[in-house]
């Protein structure tokens, strides 16, 4: 395992946990997305109740060199409200499906948050000064009787307690008939895409009343619908390139320079089916729930129900690497279909990039490359692409002693259960880790259980 020895293996320790302690989970508190900003200083979560909570990392304390700064609540705001579509007589959930940060350009921070139908651009800014000494207003805001004003003064700024304000700057609405599953900001930092089940739209961050439709897979006759879009992302470096994944396990790479409507892909990534593993559930488990480019843009990672696959953009006919997340579930697919767990959409993420190392390194295996994804029973998995080792860890309050290295977990698929192993039938399928995020620069990870956010970091010596 990772951490079982070896000089460069990461040893993960519990750092913090955020959220309610009690087992009775309020539906609105269910975490639905987790995302670090580009510097890693801020960590945003979205929940089913439409709220966004942003945590900020404390500046490192020089006296406490053995741990990195803690994350504390920085701002909380209601991003989306429940709505009712009167035409269809259906509720529109306020659940935040995705949050994506914009790179910081000035003192304020900007992020995009989306529910099923509407994307919003939020500005988060700090206020730590306020003007005092108005001539016409009292300090409490009441207007003074002008006849009582005998002298004039210039208002001055005085320090105040830090206030963090979130204000919606743009609302991008009415462009999606189906449920939005992805948003992705382009490397030009001016445009972004939003993808629903059947269509992908291109927006300009400044313009809310128009968007371009760049992918449309809706059949003329809805009865012929057999495939939907499940995720989409812009290439990190090429502003005309994006990919989208489907429920049939395919990924299409499109170039917006080729045509206005990118219905014809430039590349189609699909692994031929293994006929020996074919079952009635083959298609469902091949459905891709997440797609993420590597930082270099040379690879992309996809997550389907049982595995994580790494694709080289230059090779379309099969992935270069496949990692089994929980292969022991393959014999339980029928039960997982019955209880709907087979439709769970797990996300995946790459470790943070050290761009300097990537640039100067002659040998790619010097650059740590680790991918992470969640599983059931509050387990999450990491795969080291260089050492080919993997580890299973658990996000639970039982391990919450800071600086204690997390103990690796093991699931026993069949046969005799060893000590400390957990059998497949004992797994709690209600405790699923769908959302994880890796700090862009350091070995700090955020792992979301149903309603708690765990932060782990590597053991610093």
């Amino acid at each position: 395992f990772l951490g079982a020895g070896g000089g460069n293996d990461i040893q993960w320790c519990f750092s913090q946990v955020k959220g309610a302690v009690d087992d009775d989970v309020a539906e609105a508190d269910i975490i639905s997305t987790v995302e670090f900003n580009h510097s890693g200083e801020l960590l945003a979560t979205g929940d089913k109740g439409g709220r966004v909570v942003i945590f900020q990392q404390e500046q490192e304390n020089k006296t406490q060199s053995h741990s990195r700064g803690e994350y504390n609540v920085y701002s909380t705001f209601q991003s989306h409200e429940p709505e009712f579509d009167y035409l269809k007589s259906l509720e529109i959930e306020e659940k935040i499906n995705k949050i994506r940060w914009l790179p910081q350009k000035n003192a304020a921070q900007f992020l995009l948050s989306t529910n099923d139908k509407t994307i919003k651009l939020w500005k988060i800014s700090e206020r730590d000064k306020r003007p005092e000494g108005y001539n016409l207003k009292e300090e409490d805001g009441r207007y003074r009787d002008p006849t009582t004003v005998t002298t004039l003064r210039v208002p001055v700024f005085r320090p105040m307690d830090l206030m963090v304000e979130a204000s919606p700057r743009r609302i991008f609405a009415n462009a999606h008939t189906y449920h939005i599953n992805s948003i992705s900001i382009n490397s030009d930092y001016e445009t972004y895409l939003s993808a629903d089940d059947l269509r992908i739209n291109l927006w300009h961050l400044e313009i809310t009343d128009r968007s371009f439709n760049i992918v449309d897979i809706k059949p003329a006759n809805m009865e012929e619908l057999t495939e939907v879009i499940t995720a989409a992302e812009f290439h990190p470096n090429s502003c005309s390139t994006f990919v989208y994944s489907s429920s049939k396990g395919t990924i299409r790479l499109c170039d917006m320079r080729a045509s206005a409507l990118c219905d014809r892909h430039s590349k189609l990534f699909e692994e031929p089916e293994d006929p020996s593993n074919r079952s009635f559930f083959s298609e469902i488990i091949s459905s891709i729930s997440d797609v993420k480019f590597s930082h270099s843009g040379r690879y992309m990672m996809t997550r389907d129900y049982l595995s994580v696959k790494i694709w080289d953009l230059n090779m379309e006919n099969r992935p270069v690497e496949t990692y089994q997340v929980h292969e022991y579930l393959r014999s339980k697919l029928c039960s997982l279909y019955e209880n709907d767990c087979i439709f769970d959409k797990f996300e995946c993420c790459w470790n943070g990039s050290d761009r300097q190392v990537e640039f100067f390194s002659l040998c790619t295996s010097d650059i740590p490359s680790i991918v992470m994804t969640g599983s059931y029973n509050n387990f999450f998995r990491m795969f080291d692409r260089n050492t080919k080792r993997d580890i299973t860890l658990e996000a639970s309050r039982e391990n919450n002693k800071p600086r204690t290295v997390l103990k690796p977990r093991k699931v026993c698929a069949s046969g005799k259960r060893k000590k400390d192993e957990i059998s497949v039938d004992s797994l709690d399928f209600n405790k699923k880790i769908l959302h994880t995020a890796w700090h862009p620069k350091e070995n700090i990870i955020a792992v979301a259980t149903t309603n708690n956010l765990y932060i782990f970091q590597d053991k610093m010596n």
């Binding site: 509720e91 008939t177 189906y178 809805m222 619908l225 020996s276 009635f280 559930f281 014999s331 709907d340």
Partner: protein
């Protein structure tokens, strides 16, 4: 989709119990379990009609699964509506989870079952024909011996399978329609092919996802009696719910 005959393999561990009893009592046949999966899928599709818009991805995946089973059953020749005799059988739990369907063919002792294309129903609409022709072309490249075991099972239990098939239809139908059929004839007069017509069902499901003012030019397929009945029932529920919301606010 390859039609395959399955022979229960000998498991290790706890799963072995069922395997060892294979010779002693009747174990659920592949057909029965496939039926169970079909029933489960249809119920899932119908339950999609809730107040919040159904998850389109989930609906499409379930519908594709139903289509696969339907195709396989057509190739098997078990996809037939016939009169059923009232059987004294204890009704099995239709929605029991089984492991046999989850097992890949690699685990099977015998090889795959080559589908018999002669019984292929040509009344399917074009896209399903396409799917099947794809299946045909891929299947022909698979070299596999015909599994005689499964044929034996089918011949032994044709009545059971078809009876169960009919019964499961009844169950779903009753759940959704809230009717108790007076006679067998009445039952069949209600359970016409169009209910089980995948396209009609998908229409009933898909039409909920259409946006009224955007796609106003698209024609809605006319649902059959059965589909519209179930829509009416769900509409009433929705209406109640909406009234509740309005009253509360």
């Amino acid at each position: 989709m390859f039609v395959r005959g399955l022979k229960r393999k000998c498991f290790d561990g706890e799963e072995d119990i069922e395997g060892t009893l294979a010779g002693i009592k009747a174990i659920p046949s592949y057909n029965l379990q496939r039926q169970s999966l079909l029933d489960m899928s249809l119920v899932k599709l119908q339950l999609c009609h809730m107040l919040v818009e159904p998850n389109l991805c989930r609906s499409v995946l379930i519908a594709n699964t139903v289509r696969q089973i339907q195709e396989e059953m057509t190739q098997d020749g078990t996809w037939q509506m016939i009169n059923t005799q009232s059987t004294g059988q204890a009704s099995l739990d239709r929605l029991v989870s089984t492991d046999i369907l989850c097992r890949s063919s690699r685990d099977q002792a015998e090889g795959k079952h080559v589908p018999s294309y002669g019984t292929f129903n040509k009344d399917f609409e074009s896209d399903q024909a396409q799917d099947s022709s794809e299946t045909m072309s891929t299947a022909s490249s698979v070299q596999a011996p015909r599994n005689l075991q499964s044929n034996v099972w089918e011949m032994e239990n044709p009545q059971e399978n078809k009876g169960n098939f009919q019964k499961s239809l009844d169950q779903i139908f009753e759940t959704l329609e809230n009717k108790s059929p007076n006679s067998v004839e009445d039952l069949f007069s209600e359970v016409d092919n169009s209910y089980y017509d995948l396209d009609t069902m998908l229409t009933g499901m898909m039409s909920n996802t259409k946006m009224g003012h955007c796609d106003g030019l698209e024609t809605f397929s006319s649902p059959t009696n059965t589909a519209s009945n179930s829509n009416c029932k769900s509409d009433l529920n929705e209406l109640d719910h909406i009234v509740e919301i309005l009253v509360e606010s």
